[in-house]
Point group: C3
Chain length 259, copies 3
Amino acid sequence: MNAAPLCVLLTDFPLADPYVGAMKGAVLRDAPDARFVDLAHGLPPGDVAWASIQLAAQRDVFPDDAVFLAVVDPGVGTDRRILAAACGRQRFVGPDNGLLVPALREGASIVAVDAAAVRVRHGAETFHGRDVMAPVAARLLRGAPLDSVGVPIADPVAPALPSVRIDDGAVDGVVLHVDGYGNCVTNIEVAALDDPAAWRATVRGTDLGPIRRCYGDVDPGEPLALVGSIGRVEVSVRDGDAARRLGVARGEPVRVVRS
Amino acid sequence: MNAAPLCVLLTDFPLADPYVGAMKGAVLRDAPDARFVDLAHGLPPGDVAWASIQLAAQRDVFPDDAVFLAVVDPGVGTDRRILAAACGRQRFVGPDNGLLVPALREGASIVAVDAAAVRVRHGAETFHGRDVMAPVAARLLRGAPLDSVGVPIADPVAPALPSVRIDDGAVDGVVLHVDGYGNCVTNIEVAALDDPAAWRATVRGTDLGPIRRCYGDVDPGEPLALVGSIGRVEVSVRDGDAARRLGVARGEPVRVVRS
Amino acid sequence: MNAAPLCVLLTDFPLADPYVGAMKGAVLRDAPDARFVDLAHGLPPGDVAWASIQLAAQRDVFPDDAVFLAVVDPGVGTDRRILAAACGRQRFVGPDNGLLVPALREGASIVAVDAAAVRVRHGAETFHGRDVMAPVAARLLRGAPLDSVGVPIADPVAPALPSVRIDDGAVDGVVLHVDGYGNCVTNIEVAALDDPAAWRATVRGTDLGPIRRCYGDVDPGEPLALVGSIGRVEVSVRDGDAARRLGVARGEPVRVVRS
């Protein structure tokens, strides 16, 4: 089976605007048989950190030959660089603001794109996703080697991710994101907790009890902390909206302590 | 023509989160040439009844060989079963909470999936759409027979759909859903009314007049009841938002009487 | 390379409803190997003018053989015509309310569709996108000539686009649309300004300074006017929401004067 090349998209472009569609059109002009999967759009505007975590968390779900086109790019039009990278057989295109870095592992190759050489349109400097990054992704989708779209670099901009503080028997983190259900995803990685069930979480003075496996472990309407689908502690309410119910927003401190 | 296998998705996953994208990635890992069509996402969280009606209403619009992956799954991680079904050549995957049942007609085959056998990830019990149902859908997309993904059952959980009350010359129903335009879709099926134009509808004390064929049958800004696109009575306002204008929400009683 | 036929969709269908999905299903029934790209959905309900501008602005980004299916159709079910058009090798299907016209250039061919001949469903007159336009698009995607779906016309309904007023040294326009970031897109075309940097913009008494190239030309949090991605003057706030910050909505006057 020789499936068409796969382009996976992640942006903060608003859901009801034509920006995602226009970017896909630009990819198709240069790679007419490309297929698309939308990993996510409408992400919080300019929230590079959260988008970078999603990209890193979900990339392994996708096929080995996927090309990821990731655009959360508040610096569009300035002299920030545009990067392309290869990590295993997967490839990545995005702005040089930390967005791609968490998804890249040991041994990844990174190049700085020569935007002037690939851009296909002139006049607007506000949509490099369509006018520069899409053509780069299209080249990679057509099988061009990474070094044909830019020159190797070793100093990508590091992502600004809020780090957890680990004290004796306590882990202090924050809410990174409130999802559309009202679930509050923290920066506390479950892998850092030997046995999650042996820890309990607290937010805004509410003891959420031991870290659970699923919503059904508590009664409907009850708050809980649980192991989320990207391997991080999440604060939820069964069949409810935790952010609203607990008054929690992005940045809210969350503490996990050994029971 | 030998089109790639088609996977049709219906979920309550929020529109601006990566859950739909991750689920597609998981399908592609096992069925690399699958194609996707999003029937709907961002449906009201946990509203199994409405999602089940949509699936039943729209399935016939899709090709005969479509595989539907439907996830509105508030019981994720509990011991609720996961089902796969075949109805004609179309196949369906989803939780055993009533979601699939209205779409399945006489003669459908249903199996309970052996989740332990197909799951591809471990650690999180909050995303069976990605980690169990997507791999099952992928197998079906690749042509696996239904009985290769589970064991036959005859007792799927029944959907909890609000039923209409039919009295002499009156049908009492409720609003099932307010769509993004503000149209209020009821559970009153037009097929139950001999000649729709011979009936008139009332909601919250407002007489909406005879049941119309289209918005243009009344003046701009006027409320009306009409035959909706899934064959149910809908309450609308021409060029306007009926839910806001009439103060109607999900669950609001609607009565239809013979003129 | 013989890529599958491409259908590009543009609608005001709400994002969380199954209308877009159902329309795609209807296309696939008749053109099983069609591919889809969503140019935009969830556009402001019934705002034909804005949708028509987007279609005209983005069509050239897409491949030459794309079939555009555009549905912003408040007159659905009335006797308004349904059009199909060819402009170069690209083809277009949509209601006859001005939606397609700005995208059609000199030499385009237009036909009025014989809806009765192509419709595939009966009973509902509220969803011609699915029941009439999708089957027409499917025929075109399968290579049918334009004149096989309708009869030539020369009098499509003209779009009602707000025009700019050009006085000596001043251009008066309005905000056509507020996008999901809060950027305010005006009807003032940059092509009408010799050197954009030699002009400055004013909105609601705020002098936005000279027209910029990108957000980074001002400090974070500062308002600005700039050359937007569809070649029109846009009012923005760097890393912010201009509509909220400046109290601007659709229809707000914007003036551009020579510095």
